[in-house]
Structures are given as C-alpha cells and as structure tokens.
C-alpha cells in the first residue's frame, strides 16, 4: 500500500497488486489494439502502423484506419470499459457476481429501448436516450418485482431473468412489426456488434465514459465501505443508501451507453469485475481494473469475430455470449453449492 499524493489536496492510497495488474492489462489492450489494426488481409503491417497513425494515412490505410477498423476499435475499447465499470458497480451494490447488469435485464431492457427508438420513433427519440429509458424501466421492474430491492441475490436473479425475457420478447415484437429490411439491419445490432461502427458512435461512448469516470472515482471509496455491511458503513459515515443509489444510476447510464453504440453485448459486465478481483486477490470493487479488463475482453472478442475463419461474420456479441454463457453456468453452480441461490 503506497500513498499517491498530489500537492496537499489529493492523497490516494494505491495497492501494489492492483497497480501492477492495471499496468499489465493496459499493455495487453495496446497489444490487442495493434493486432486488431494489423491482422488479416486488410491489416496495416505493424512496421507501417506508427507512420499511418501519426504521420497521416493514405489510400487503403486511410480507409482501414478511418472507416473500417479505427472506429470499430475505439468504440470497442470504450464500450468494453463502460461494460466492465458498469458490472463492477452493480456487482458491488448487489454483493453478488450474478447481480450484474447483463444478467438481470438492464442490457436487454436497453436493447428493447434502443430498438423502439430506432424503429418506432426514428428521428423523434435519439437511440442512446431510448436505450437509457429501456434500461431504467427494466431496472425499475426488477427492483419492484423482487419485493426486496437489490438485497436478495436469489430473487434478484430470478426477477432479472424474467425482466430480461420480457425485454427480449418486446424487442422481437418491435423487429417483427416493422418492414423486413429495416429489421435485418437491427438483428446484428441486437446480438451486440461492433462491425460498421462510425466515429459518432465512438464519440457517444467515450463522452459517457469520460463524463461518468470522475463521478465513479469519487464514489469508489464509499463503495469500499459498503462492503463492510450497511450498519458499519453507516456508522463510519459512508451513507450506504445514497451510495448504492448513485452506483446503480451510474451503472445503468454506462450500460445504456454501451448498448446504444454496440447492442446488448453479453457477459462482459459479468466477467470483467470477476477477473479483476482474481487478478488482485484483494478487497474492493477494482473499478479501474474492471474497466481495463472489460476493454481487453471486448477487443479480444471482436478480434476473434473479425479474424476467426467462421462463415457468416458472426457479430462479437455471439462470441461473448458463447464464452460468457459457460462462465455464467459455472457461477450459477458455485452459488447454488454455496446455498445463496
């Protein structure tokens, strides 16, 4: 434990394990990003990459960097970070790995909201706002239907799965109710996809990440304290109720933003904080590390989506769903054995 001091105003203790893990993960994100830009038939060779990035790109390279893979990569990093952060916040509040926005229907709700905004109210309601409205509605439904807020993990998961199913059904209805060709465009999106992203998607997700990051940072210490249990946290002056409300709100905003640019990509929010926790082995929500791990996971999954020789160009969401689904199964079994479910 070292204390990082900036002048007399700022002093923040930093755990060594966490700092090392964050640095390594950040380096791996860079490696994965380079691979994303340089692998494959249209890839820019690593040797030419610095010139293309910093010296101005021309011709094919300009197309790959500016249109084909650049925005996709930048959106991927931002979305992965948003999902990792969102998952870490929600899991800390629910004190359960399964109390994650992608399990309990926040992502599915955001997807339904985004689909409604894009297909029923085109031009009237911006897609990100539609996603946010859907996410908030889904979360409110879960909150009400557990009868105990977010306290009871078992009820939370059951209610969440129900709300998730309702959201997906609603999305299907929206897709069927509109003309076939408009719906086809949406189908890839609804699985979670990073293909054909544009720079305005990148601006949306990064704007949200950069605006919420300072708020999350200010909340981090209080979230640490809520891990001690409500009464102790309250006795220490950490206001657990208000802290939870703030954390859930930020988590929903981040989730909705991620869904609005890339669709409901499954399981990044679930797995990233869990991996972060295992990397450091210590307590705490590991917010920074969860964001970095989320970014790494999503960029790697998208790399697989782009480069694996699977016919049909599967969207990245299918990959994360396949891998994350196994992990979800493992977690469910473990919680069931522990008797929390």
């Amino acid at each position: 434990m070292t204390v990082v001091k900036i002048g007399r105003v700022i002093a923040v203790p930093v755990g060594r394990n966490g700092a090392v893990a964050a640095a390594v993960t950040a380096a791996l994100v860079v490696v994965a990003a380079v691979a994303t830009l340089s692998l494959g038939r249209l890839g820019i060779p690593v040797a030419d990459l610095p010139q293309a990035l910093f010296g101005g790109a021309e011709g094919k390279e300009a197309f790959v960097l500016g249109r084909l893979r650049g925005p996709r990569l930048v959106v991927g990093i931002g979305t992965g970070a948003a999902l990792g952060l969102s998952g870490a916040l929600f899991q800390t509040v629910t004190r359960n790995p399964l109390g994650s926005p992608d399990v309990i229907g926040v992502s599915a709700g955001a997807g339904a909201g985004a689909a409604t905004a894009a297909l029923f109210l085109p031009g009237l309601l911006p897609v990100p706002l539609g996603a946010l409205a859907g996410a908030v509605l889904a979360m409110a439904l879960v909150y009400v239907s557990t009868g105990a807020g977010f306290r009871n993990p078992g009820r939370l998961i059951v209610a969440g799965i129900g709300v998730s199913a309702i959201s997906v059904a609603f999305t299907q209805y929206v897709v069927y109710a509109v003309e076939r060709d408009r719906a086809t465009v949406l189908m890839a999106y609804l699985n979670g996809s990073l293909s054909a992203r544009a720079w305005d998607h990148a601006v949306t997700i990064w704007l949200v990440v950069l605006l919420t990051a300072p708020l999350v940072a200010l909340l981090a210490r209080r979230l640490d304290m809520t891990e001690l249990g409500d009464e102790l946290a309250a006795g220490l002056g950490a206001e657990p109720g208000a802290t939870r409300t703030a954390a859930v709100s930020l988590s929903v905003v981040l989730s909705a933003a991620a869904v609005s640019v890339a669709g409901p990509i499954a399981f990044i929010a679930l797995t990233a904080p869990q991996i972060a926790r295992r990397l450091t082995g210590g307590p705490g929500p590991h917010l920074t590390l969860s964001a970095l791990v989320g970014a790494l996971l999503l960029v790697l999954a998208d790399l697989a989506a782009q480069q694996l020789p699977i016919p049909g160009n599967l969207p990245v969401g299918i990959h994360t769903m396949a891998v994350g689904g196994l992990y979800l199964g493992y977690l469910l079994t473990r919680e069931w054995r522990k008797g929390t479910l």
Binding site: M1, V3, K5, V9, I10, A11, V12, P13, L218, R221, D224, M225, E227, L228, G229, E231, L232, A234, G235, L236, G237, A238, E239, R277, T280, G281, G282, P283, G284
Partner: protein, 267 residues
Amino acid sequence: MAEGNTVSTTGLGVRDVTISYGGDPVVRDVSLDIPDGELSVIIGPNGCGKSTLLKSLARVRKPDRGQVLLNGRDLWSYRGRQAARHVALLPQNPSAPDGITVRDLVRRGRYPHHTLLRQWSPGDDAAIDFALERTDLRELAHVRAAELSGGQRQRAWVAMVLAQQTDLLLLDEPTTFLDIAHQYELLELCRELHGEGRTIVAVLHDLNQAARFASHLVVMREGRLVTQGPPAEVLTAELVGDVFGLACDIVPDPRTASPMVVPHDRR
C-alpha cells in the same frame, strides 16, 4: 429535561425517542444520557429495543420521533463522517470484504478522518498501529481476515473501531458468536479500554457478564427504559423477575463481589 442534569455526560443522548419497524414501535419515548467515562451496558429481553437504541445513538437508525443529541446538536444535522469522528459503532454482523488483510480492515476505520480527495491522513499509521497493538493483533496484521479464528476476528473489528479514534465506542452484542473464553477476553479488553478513560456503551445478553463488567447498567423492557445506575443498585431479584420473568437470587460474585444472578429451580 435536557438541562438540569448534573451528571457528567458525554454530550451524547436521546430525547423522547421513538423508533418503529413497519409501524410497530420498538423503542418508545426513551430519554437517556450516556454518562462520561463509564462502561455502560444495556440489558433487556430479546426485542426490547436495546440494539435499535444503540443504532440510533450511532446515526445508523434515524428515530421516527424525538431527537438524538450530540453536544446539544441533533446528530442527524452532522454530516456522516463528522458524526463518525465522535461516535463509533461495532454492529452485530459486520462483513469482511473478500481477501482483505487485518491491517487493511483496520485501516477502513480511518474513513471518517478522510475527505473525498484526501483518502489518507498523517495520523493513519499511528492510529492503526495503536489499535492493532491494543487488540494484540500486531503479529496477524498481514493475515487475511478470513483466516482468523472467531475471537481474533472480533478483536480485528474492535481494532477497526478503535482506529476510528472516537470519544465513544458503541458495541452491539460483541460477544454473541464467541466461545466463552473469548467472550471474557473481549470483555476484559473493554474493561481495559474503559480503564484508560474511554466511554463505552455495549449491549449484552448475559446478565452476569453485564453486572461484572459494567460500571453503569441500563435496563430496557418493551421499548422503554426501566431503570439505570450502578449494577449493585440496579440488579435486584425483583428487577430480574419483573423484566426477564426469571425467579432468582442475587448473590455477590465470589471473585468480584458484583451482583450475580442465581436462578431458582422451576420444580
């Protein structure tokens, strides 16, 4: 009522406090001043509201009616951390975060002394070292809390509230999950801390432990304050019969001469 009290108080107390859970009052119109420098123990049958009263004194449970006062000011008009620099509460079921070490756990007690941007203060290490020393946990500082025995873990929690460096320490049934030897070990620690001039309020279940370790006894029944005072005056056979429904003799403890409850046989 608020004035005219010549007993030296800590400045912490409740005035006509009523606290309800789901419409049923658990604490009814209680007024109480916590005496300064005493080891006060609150006793009473299950559900008499003693833990709830303790929580209201620590700014954890807001009263439905009445006031909790700290130095003449409503406790709820303080900011959370400000109040937590005066009063520390160790609740019944705190949870240790996964993977936390004893030292990091104790460090969390320093939270009220930090601000949003300054999450470290110069007094931190000294306060943590003192708390670990006092609870005999120096050797175990870098052990994970999950690996501690029940008695050690409870001492770690006490260390955490000690590191908070408050004038007042509130302990909610601190002996509940401990083996009998560890119960006494913890109570001895409370007595030592009291001997060093610290004001402690504890909720205890065991009447004999309460009588032996308390310097001031507070008795509650059905949400109301029954009586308070030195154990030798307060703990009588009539009171135990009235409040706990137990027929008994009170005899002097052969070791400490504090009152000791000896129940009658039912036959």
